[in-house]
């Protein structure tokens, strides 16, 4: 009985046909191209390390020790927001299962009626009325669903994303409903951090120049070309203007409750200006909805539990012997890689807490709400 009853939860993200990569048992979800994300990380960590190493000692002594402390806090917050944006599910819509796809196909055919041969069938569009505005829902041929309003298909990740904003290569992920506020906080705090570092760089140079003279100060810049303070100052300067610009742009979008995608396509501008059906026509309300709205669950990492029969059998046979874990026990199936099978067979666990309904609790293992850094630290 013991070997037979070991089952493995095949998580939804493992079956996701899109072009995403997953790590840490589904906790981390990113796009395939991650090169620019590593560059972003390197630039931020590199610049801040140089600031902490070369400028902070002087500033702490001559001005105030609060300066480096605040810089550290800001730096940690920026990294947290970056990792949160990069690693969380942006709001991917799972593709339709075959029965649902067939049901929709039948509905479309019924609506179209008889199309004479040789003629192209009409485009698959559904019209819905939202706040007295007709919105067209397009059919996604890849995901086989009618996309909800504001959703769009990302060709890089090959997924439909809810409230799709844009695909950001700098964070290595799409920006959508679930991670937009983290993305906005990332751009905002990075702008603040860049301004902070740049400002204190200037202060540092001025203070040293007062003591030693300007040219001497420049000569004594720590480090060797290209990895010296001057290069990073330059990087800081350009980053500052692009980040401040981007933050300003997104603040404008949030106040109008628009996405970058809608702005680029001009859905609610030009002759349609002022007709955005999602806007509350009030800047505060729009900001509150986007930034202070509920934290939506992931539809990819919300995995199915086995039925109550298996669960209760597990509880009775295993709970007495083995420590409580939130993973389900494992069965190797055709999806399990061969090298993992022996370890899977050996692994024991008991089911989740008692009396939970089958599709209820999100175990922390597969929850994207888990802080990415701590989960990675745990796994490494």
């Amino acid at each position: 009985m013991s070997a037979v009853m070991i089952t493995r939860k095949v998580r939804k993200w493992e079956k996701l046909p899109g072009k995403n990569t997953f790590c840490c048992d589904g906790r981390v979800m990113m796009a395939r191209q991650k090169g620019i994300f590593y560059l972003t990380l390197f630039l931020i960590i590199g610049t801040c390390s140089l600031f902490f190493a070369f400028e902070c000692p002087y500033l702490a002594v001559h001005l105030s020790p609060a300066i480096p402390v605040f810089a550290v806090l800001l730096f940690l917050f920026v990294i947290a927001m970056l990792l949160r944006t990069s690693f969380s599910d942006p709001g991917v819509l799972p593709r339709a299962l075959p029965e649902e796809a067939n049901f929709i196909e039948m509905e479309i055919e019924a609506a179209n009626g008889n199309v004479p041969s040789g003629q192209r069938p009409p485009p698959r569009i559904r019209n819905v009325q939202i706040n007295n505005q007709i919105v067209k829902l397009k059919y996604c041929y890849t995901c086989k669903i009618f996309r909800p309003p504001r959703a769009s298909h990302c060709s890089i990740c090959d997924n439909c994303v809810d409230r799709f904003d844009h695909h950001c290569p700098w964070v290595g992920n799409c920006v959508g409903k679930r991670n937009y506020r983290y993305f906005y906080l990332f751009t905002l705090t990075l702008s603040l951090l860049t301004i902070y570092i740049f400002a204190f760089n200037i202060v540092h140079v001025v203070m040293r120049s007062v003591d030693q003279g300007f040219l001497n100060t420049l000569k004594e810049t720590p480090g060797t070309y290209p990895l010296n303070m001057n290069t990073f100052l330059l990087v800081c300067f350009f980053t500052l203007w692009s980040m401040v610009g981007l933050t300003g742009f997104h603040t404008y979008l949030i106040s109008l409750n628009q996405t970058t995608n809608e702005d680029i396509k001009g859905s609610w501008s030009g002759k349609n200006r002022g007709q955005n059906p999602y806007s509350h026509k009030n800047i505060i309300k729009n900001c509150c909805e986007v930034l202070c709205g509920p934290t939506y669950p992931s539809k990819m990492c919300y995995h199915d539990d086995l039925g109550v029969i298996c669960f209760s059998l597990f509880l009775t046979s295993f709970s007495a012997c083995f420590p409580q874990k939130t993973t389900a026990p494992l069965i190797p199936n055709e999806h399990t890689p061969d090298d993992v099978k022996p370890s899977i067979a050996a692994e024991k666990s008991s089911g989740p807490k008692d009396d939970q309904p089958p599709a209820a609790k999100l175990p922390p293992l597969a929850s994207p709400e888990t802080d990415a850094e701590t989960s990675i630290a745990k796994n490494q």
């Binding site: 009985m1 037979v4 049901f103 909800p148 202070c292 029969i309 309904p357 599709a359 802080d371």
Partner: protein
Amino acid sequence: MKNAGLRCFLYSINEQIRALAGSHPKSVLTGFKCVQTHSLQDLQQPAVSSKVFVQRDYSSGTICKFQTKFPSELESRMDKQQFEETMQTLNNLYAEAEKIGGKSYLEGFLACLTAYTIFLCMETHYEKVLKKIARYIKDQNEKIYAPRGLLLTDPIERGLRVVEITIFEDRSVGSGR
């Protein structure tokens, strides 16, 4: 009626296992060795069923709301009132999950202060309501839908796009109740 209800319940378990095991018949069978074999044989025969999908209602915007229109395929199985009540309750629960008010502001503010690490120990309000919804659907299935040979699937399993209702055809000739 009892037969259809039990078959419906076991079918739902089988369906979930089948979906999880990638429709591999062997893994389904090994998973069920401990269960009474007569029901397993029942499951091995193709279950005659069809599915109805209740779509989202976007008339109020992008909030999660399902259409309450009674599907014609269910007309012979249950009454309209009951179905509309179920859908209305579901819509109310989702509205509660997505409500933007003092509580969601507080949650968001606290979470932001802790750089969202607070969600390591705390469940979000939405997740709490999703559990409530799962309990409600299970309850409805047990009390109302399973006795009529129907099965409601929790919309979160379908990405909050549709409410899937599986209709089981009663095998026996006649009413079968």
